[in-house]
Amino acid sequence: MSLAVEPTMSDEPSTIPAVIELREVGRTFPGPPPVEAFKPSNLKIERGEYVSIIGPSGSGKSTLLHLLGLLDRPTTGSYLLDGIDTGHLGDNARAGLRGSRIGFVFQSFHLMHHRSVLENVELAQIYNRMPRKERRQRAVNALEQVGLGHRLSFTPRTLSGGERQRVAVARALVTEPSLLLADEPTGNLDTEMSGDIMQVLDDLHGAGLTLAVITHDLDVSRRAERQVRIVDGSLHEA
């Protein structure tokens, strides 16, 4: 079908849809007692933006991360990713969307320890059936981009924490996602390594990537050009 085109080029060519648009999105966990972890809020992240979402633990950061990452469904409101309303998509479609448009970076890296660095990065592309040759080339490029071109055949165990997180960043980059979603990316790293990773993220932003970093760390938060506070499940622009 000729419909398989980027929505940005569809009916309204003049407006480029925001990467993320939350319209009165809320999430309540059924009780008893029911907990309103994330109160109905609006949030728009435009293409190329670098946004940090900062809040203390228990403020609803994780809930927001899961909603943004399509790992969880909102109980109210609608969430548009690249202009696509995710509310009426099935599980499979959400998985496909997640795999192709969102790159995750986790606090605990989530690398596979018995696979090489290169294989870890390639893993991000197997669920959208990229040709093997192209997949490998893209993985090599992504690793070079984060400065690990010389460590392709190493296993994560032999790498430092900062290097591991850079592998995870490369894995998130390799699918050329619309959004890189980082959850406490420096939470398991010392100051020096944290600076290292934040530099990588800065560089990626400089290259045009849209970034959302969720953190409780002010130093990390300050690196972003736009900061959003989350307190008791509601969002406030800082």
């Binding site: 569809s10 998509l89 479609a93 018995h114 991000a124 959208n128």
Partner: protein, 430 residues
């Protein structure tokens, strides 16, 4: 495009996740090889189960075959001819078996050995090995006397411990010679022949030619004094041989004894052996021969198999539970990996497929190793026991398939559990 609802447009631009089979295989292989120790332990259960199944089924077959072939060989090749109540002679007590029965039968194809055998009536005479008449009777024994032709020992698969068996020359000359059964020899205190011992039956002395070691058929020979037909006729008035024993070649029994060659007016059938012995009156004889053994073999094999199959099935069940258990533990342990894969765009079915494939391949590997070890076990046991290994040709292949099937079944529940794991829970659990 404009006539589409926004929902339909959204759905159309979203690409569903896809995983090529080759990538699935790659993920399965590295999933298994990433934890080689676990793979070995998981497969071990199936290895043991399949080994037990293959080796027990094979050994049952091998042993069954062994039991039956020994059993068969003796009974199936045995033919005994004795006088019947039919024929011209009617019910008279004299057997119509000719003295030269052995010569007549040896011309028939399929006869390995033949000989006559008759109980000799010695009118209660006692036997002794010392020439003096002992008034106390301590050295006198009541021992039965059997007359045979020279070929009987071979026909009953007997062997001689010392000395020799008499031949038809002794019979023709009516030589006073005897051969002793081992039990009879012991009672008569005769153990060696270098002193040329003699025994007395009543007042008549007989030279001992040899001592029998053992016989496979007709064990009454073991406890008897055995003499040539001609000797029995001369000294004790034996009228005619009472029985003819034939050792037939394997497979020849049917042709020799079971297939009727002629059928008389009275409806009595006569077989080749009977015609060879008494061509003028074949119905006067009766033949005893094995009627076949297939049913017996199947019974024995069935009994042995049933027992071993139960054993094998139990061990397989244990093996299957082992795989299920370890796979389930593995799923729980790999929860973060499942979460990561889901975050990277894997659909639930991809997760299920991977775990299912891993457990199936584990079962398959267990099946291959188990079938091989099982076959080796059969060969080894057979070699030690000097048996012929017998195995159904399809069994090793079926066993490998069974291993894979067990892996598949055992992996189903863990795979479903894995697929149902919510990515949030999975990512949080690290």
């Amino acid at each position: 495009m404009n006539d589409l609802t926004p929902e339909a447009r959204d759905r159309s631009v979203v690409q569903h996740p896809r995983l090529s089979f080759r990538d699935l295989l790659d993920e399965m292989v590295s999933g298994l090889l990433g934890r080689p120790g676990r793979l070995v332990l998981t497969a071990l259960g199936t290895v043991l189960g399949i080994t037990a199944l293959v080796s027990t089924l094979g050994l049952a077959k091998t042993a069954g075959n062994q039991i039956v072939s020994r059993f068969d060989e003796l009974t199936e090749t045995r033919i005994v001819i004795s006088p019947s109540d039919n024929g011209f002679g009617g019910n008279d007590s004299t057997s119509s078996i000719p003295w030269n029965a052995e010569t007549r039968l040896s011309r028939l194809n399929g006869v390995v050995a033949a000989g006559t055998k008759s109980d000799v009536d010695i009118s209660g005479a006692l036997s002794r090995s010392v020439p003096v008449v002992d008034p106390l009777g301590i050295n006198e024994h009541q021992i039965s006397v059997i007359a045979t032709s020279g070929g009987l020992l071979e026909a009953v698969r007997g062997s001689i411990r010392t000395g020799r068996y008499f031949d038809n020359g002794h019979s023709d000359r009516s030589d006073p010679v005897v051969v002793l059964g081992p039990a009879a020899a012991q009672r008569l205190n005769i153990f060696r022949l270098d002193t040329q011992p003699a025994i007395f039956i009543g007042e008549q002395s007989f030279t001992v030619l040899g001592i029998i070691d053992d016989v496979a058929r007709e064990p009454d020979l073991l406890n008897a004094i055995v003499m040539p037909d001609g000797t029995a006729r001369e000294f004790f008035g034996l009228a005619a041989p009472a029985e003819v024993h034939i050792d037939a070649a394997v497979g020849a029994t049917a042709l020799l004894a079971n297939e009727p060659m002629t059928i008389s007016e009275s409806g009595t059938a006569a077989n080749m052996v009977q015609i060879a012995l008494t061509p003028d009156d074949p119905e006067s004889l009766r033949t005893q021969a094995s009627q076949g053994y297939t049913a017996v073999r199947q019974d024995v094999e069935g009994d042995v198999n049933a027992l071993f199959v139960v054993l094998g099935a139990v061990s397989l069940l244990v093996g299957g539970l082992g795989i299920a258990n370890v796979t389930l533990v593995s799923v729980l342990e790999r929860t973060p990996e499942i979460g990561l894969r889901r975050a990277l765009g894997a659909a639930r079915r991809h997760i299920a497929a991977q775990f299912l494939l891993e457990s199936t391949v584990t079962g398959l590997l267990g099946g291959i190793i188990g079938a091989s070890v099982g076959v080796l076990t059969i060969v080894a046991v057979s070699a030690v026991r000097d048996w012929t290994p017998v195995l159904e040709g399809y069994l090793p292949f079926a066993a490998v398939g069974l291993g894979a099937l067990i892996g598949l079944i055992a992996g189903t529940y863990p795979a479903l559990r894995a697929a149902q794991t919510e990515p949030i829970t999975a990512l949080r659990s690290s």
